[in-house]
């Protein structure tokens, strides 16, 4: 772990977030890619101060190797991110082929709900609820 790498990871998170907060799907995917890079970097540097590669050939002192567990986890994460990116690309392509744009529009159902507000009912003081009981 080192300050430089930590700062790089944080900047990747920041730029990625900035790109994600948009409506063009292709740009969101790029932002997500940056965030993934930042996260992977964070996990690797979280594993310690580095070291020689964790390959125990002859002459390698096991005490000096880098922590292999975060590496294995990040290796998995890299490949999974690849799959996710491909899926998102497919979504963007499909959206573009169907609508002519890869923009994410506002959800019409959510907008309808947002506009709809229950009226605040003022109870009628003359209305006697006790007559209502059947």
């Amino acid at each position: 772990m080192s300050l430089i790498s930590l700062a790089v990871a944080a900047i990747l998170f920041g730029v990625g977030t900035y790109l994600i907060l948009q409506r063009a799907l292709s740009r969101i995917i790029i932002g997500l890619g940056l965030v993934s890079h930042g996260a992977n970097l964070l996990i690797v540097i979280g594993g310690g101060f580095g070291g020689v590669p964790p390959i125990l050939s002859e002459g390698v002192d096991p005490a000096t190797v880098a922590d292999p567990l975060p590496q294995a986890m990040v290796l998995t994460a890299i490949v999974i991110t690849f799959g996710v990116t491909a899926l998102l690309l497919a979504l963007a392509l499909r959206s573009y082929l169907l609508t002519g744009t890869d923009e994410v529009e506002d959800d019409p159902e959510d907008r309808r709900v947002a506009r709809e507000v229950h009226p605040v009912v003022e109870p009628d003081p003359d209305e006697d609820m006790h007559e209502v009981v059947a």
Binding site: P53, I55, S57, G83, A86, L89, A90, L93
Partner: protein
């Protein structure tokens, strides 16, 4: 792709594809003791597929890897799972590794570890994935998938 790919480029890629695939197999085989493994090997093969697609389109891809992606995906999953069960049947835990050591004539001592089977499965899945993604996102479905 509508434009006619350059024949020189196509030829170059096809001749380079063989060594690249061999290199990917080397990474796969060496991965247990050196950098590499099923993921890295599969990805090298995947890059080969992408290059072939860029050079000559789907037909060139089929010349290099004449298998459908779904076959590779399924085969890879089956091999990986079966390897796990082998050690289960042999009395160990799921995916616990065992090994065979034989001295073969001419080659010398060969150590065959069961994780290699698992890594082969990983390799096949990654190659199948690259193939499937290139075909789909490349946007020109090969003939045999169109009608099905």
């Amino acid at each position: 792709m509508n434009r006619r790919p350059s024949p020189i480029l196509e030829h170059g890629v096809v001749s380079a594809a063989g060594p690249m695939l061999v290199f990917s197999l080397y990474l796969l085989a060496a991965g247990h003791n050196q950098p590499g493994g099923g993921f890295a090997g599969g990805l090298v093969a995947g890059v080969t597929v992408v290059l072939a697609w860029a050079a000559g389109g789907p037909d060139t891809v089929r010349r290099i890897v004449p298998v459908r992606s779904s076959v590779l995906l399924g085969l890879g999953l089956v091999i990986a799972t079966l390897t796990g069960f082998v050690s289960l049947v042999a009395g160990g835990a799921f995916l616990e590794s065992g090994y065979l050591e034989r001295t073969l004539p001419l080659i010398g001592t060969v150590k065959l570890v069961s994780p290699l089977g698992f890594d082969i499965g990983v390799y096949l899945v990654v190659v199948g994935m690259s193939l499937g993604l290139v075909r789909a996102l490349g946007g020109e479905p090969p003939e045999e998938e169109v009608g099905s």
